[in-house]
């Protein structure tokens, strides 16, 4: 029997689903393979641990990773290559994944991970309150998703409704998280972080400033929660204090579970509103990877590959965690197409954008780190957007 040591950073509603999948996997492979799973804190702490554990040869056998961070990981030599033979063994291949996703796990023509999903951010909303306020369309969507003015008007209308504390719940205390929203808003203006290895070239800086300005306006007008950290944001939304919330699809199961317990209002999730020119949503992928720095027996490696393969092929269940499975065969299934609320926001797959492919990018990577540092003061009105952009450019170029 092989024990596969597994690390992930899936702590939210999707973490519960992943634990279920691990349990299912263990049942299905009783006596052959057993997964010994650990969930670590998301972000910097997780990647710090990975880095040090690889450095000292104490790495796990398999871990989740963000596709956006793979270039950095490859650069640091943290990951083992997955050879074509490995893919054969898994019964998976390029054809099973969308090209953009496949590309995201490749570097120098080699593969470093098995993508499992894409996970964009979406707009969650409280149908009960919006309905009462008359702000729900006939399709049951919030009104005003079409433009900045309309959406702001919706928020303002909610604000004027005295029962509402926060029209919008945003993770304003955590720059790491806000990176997703802001990068989405840049995408709506076709902005680029990196152009040929240079940062925020040309009017990209202005686009960033625009994105920040919108969010700061919402803060200044009292339309969104300030200094709210991640758990508080979720709590504000689920307790009804915030009517809408921008968050990852991975919080879907939280809602589903609370609703099942009868502890939640009528809710929905939809693609981000179009604030600027066109729809665009930042997205990333969860990927399975095998870290360097652990001497695996061929048997162990085979077991690890089996884990990856099994989860990829069974990722219909993973879709109940809100994510969009990366495996084309799953998304093609009817069962998936009927799944709610995934269906409501499935349209956004066409509008997804990804991090630039560079060792500077990625969750908890250097760009991410520098930018997030300036988001918190800006979003909470401590710093002017223009000043923030200036500082960001200075620091990015200083790296």
């Amino acid at each position: 029997q092989e024990t596969v040591v597994w690390w992930d950073f899936l702590g939210g509603g999707d973490g519960v689903r992943m634990k279920q999948m691990i349990a299912d996997f263990n049942d299905a492979h009783a006596g052959e393979i057993v997964i010994d799973g650990t969930t670590l804190d998301w972000g910097v702490p997780f990647y710090t641990k990975v880095q040090t554990s690889v450095a000292v040869g104490e790495a796990p056998d398999i871990m989740t990773y963000h596709a956006s961070r793979i270039p950095l990981a490859v650069d640091q030599g943290l990951l083992q290559e997955l050879t074509p033979a490995d893919f054969d063994a898994m019964g998976l291949g390029q054809d099973d994944f969308a090209p953009s996703i496949w590309d995201a796990v490749s570097a120098d023509g080699k593969q470093y991970g098995v993508p499992i999903d894409t996970h964009p951010i979406v707009l969650y909303y409280n149908k009960d309150i919006l309905g009462e306020a008359g702000l729900l369309t006939d399709d049951g969507l919030p009104v005003g998703l079409g433009s900045r003015a309309e959406f702001t008007a919706t928020l303002q209308a909610l604000k004027d409704n005295s029962d509402v504390t926060f029209p919008l719940g945003s993770v304003t205390a955590d720059g790491n998280f806000m990176f997703r929203t802001i990068y989405s808003l840049m995408g709506q203006q076709d902005g680029e972080l990196m152009t040929d290895g240079a940062f925020l070239v040309g009017d990209n800086a202005t686009k960033l400033e625009n994105a920040l300005a919108v969010l700061q306006e919402w803060t200044n007008e009292g339309l969104q929660s300030t200094y709210t950290d991640y758990p508080a944001t979720v709590a504000l939304f689920t307790s009804g204090e915030a009517v809408m919330m921008i968050n990852g699809v991975w919080e879907v199961p939280t809602m589903v579970d609370l609703e099942a317990e009868g502890n939640l209002f009528e809710w929905g999730a939809v693609e981000l509103p179009v604030i600027f020119d066109h729809a665009s949503t930042y997205s990333d992928s969860h990927v399975f990877a095998i870290p360097e720095g652990n001497d695996m027996s061929p048997e162990k490696r085979a077991a690890v590959l089996e884990v990856m393969s099994w989860i990829s092929k069974n990722s219909l269940f993973w879709a109940t965690a809100g994510h969009i499975p990366a495996n084309n065969n799953i998304t093609a299934m009817d069962a998936y197409k009927a799944m709610e609320p995934n269906a409501t926001y499935s349209s956004l797959t066409a509008n997804m954008i990804y991090d630039p492919k560079t060792p500077m990018a990625g969750v908890a990577g250097p760009i991410f780190d520098v930018m997030s540092t300036y988001f918190v003061p800006t979003l909470n009105g401590e710093m002017e957007p223009s000043e923030a952009v200036e500082e960001i450019i200075y620091e990015l170029n200083d790296m």
Binding site: G11, T38, W42, T52, V56, E58, P231, A235
Partner: protein, 280 residues
């Protein structure tokens, strides 16, 4: 002052006492608040008003922490490493302190000065090198790796030395007249005589070791090897609203030291003053 001064002072003293007690209660209130919050259902926890006693008292979060997390293993790790640090630190320091205090040997002064000097050096600056050293010795993620770098407590040697210095040399001489060997002097006279200090220092060393954060945090990359103080901040369902759960884990982590303190209050107090070089 008027002839009624004495009475007025008494009255003011009473008021002052009540004030002191109130402030003390307020001082410890956050601890109470943490504990009481951990006993509320999650939806009560986030109610937007102050609720000093839960509507529904629940142990579900404790149950969750104890069954769904590795807190049991962390407890074992914490106990094993804290006891290890305590036993090793106290015993090596005891022997060293005794030798420096009572025996004459070449190198004694140099050793003493080194210890005094290292008293000021922050071990925090050595984290990198400790990490590399432990990695090279393949001790990361092991109890030994957590314990070893925590063994530098020059202050314990200093306290022991001072204590042994204070033992009147009459005892040593009485023992010599009693035909006691050098070992008998140490084990049958000096150690039992100073048992109070030894336990006091052991208790604070234990508390320090239990509360250690930085090094155990760095030295362990595997969850099952974490100590409880590190574990509760590292491995948690950060995504999602589980304040009460986090608090229940915190209560579990703080409980043993709080208990040790409440039981050995006087010894802890004594050891703290000793560790600052004040004779209790």
């Amino acid at each position: 002052m008027t002839p009624t001064t004495i009475r007025r002072i008494n009255w003011m003293g009473g008021a002052f006492t009540i004030l002191t007690v109130l402030i003390a209660v307020l001082w410890a209130f956050p601890i109470y608040w943490g504990i009481i919050s951990s006993l509320k259902p999650e939806n009560e926890v986030v109610r937007p008003y102050i609720e000093l006693w839960p509507d529904t008292l629940t142990f579900e979060h404790y149950w969750f922490a104890l069954t769904q997390t590795q807190i049991g293993k962390w407890y074992i790790n914490s106990i094993a490493t804290s006891v290890g640090v305590t036993v090793l630190t106290v015993s090596t320091s005891l022997f060293a302190g005794y030798a420096i205090s009572q025996l004459r040997f070449p190198g004694r002064r140099v050793l003493w000065w080194l210890i005094l000097a290292s008293f000021m050096v922050p071990t925090q600056v050595l984290i990198i090198n400790h990490f590399v050293l432990m990695a090279n010795m393949s001790l990361l993620n092991s109890w030994a790796g957590i314990i070893l770098p925590q063994l530098i407590h020059p202050v314990i040697v200093i306290v022991f030395k001072q204590f042994f210095d204070q033992v009147p040399k009459d005892f040593r001489e009485a023992a010599a007249m009693d035909n006691a060997s050098e070992w008998a002097v140490l084990f049958k006279i000096y150690i039992p005589m100073n048992w109070g200090v030894i336990t006091a220092l052991s208790i604070v060393t234990f508390i320090w070791a239990w509360n250690a954060f930085l090094w155990p945090f760095l030295a362990v990359t595997k969850t099952e090897m974490m100590t409880i103080t590190v574990g509760i901040t590292q491995v948690f369902d950060a995504f999602g609203v589980y304040y009460a759960r986090q608090l229940s884990a915190a209560v579990l982590a703080g409980f043993p030291v709080a208990l040790v303190y409440l039981v050995f209050q006087r010894r802890v107090t004594q050891a703290i003053t000793l560790s600052a070089g004040i004779k209790g």
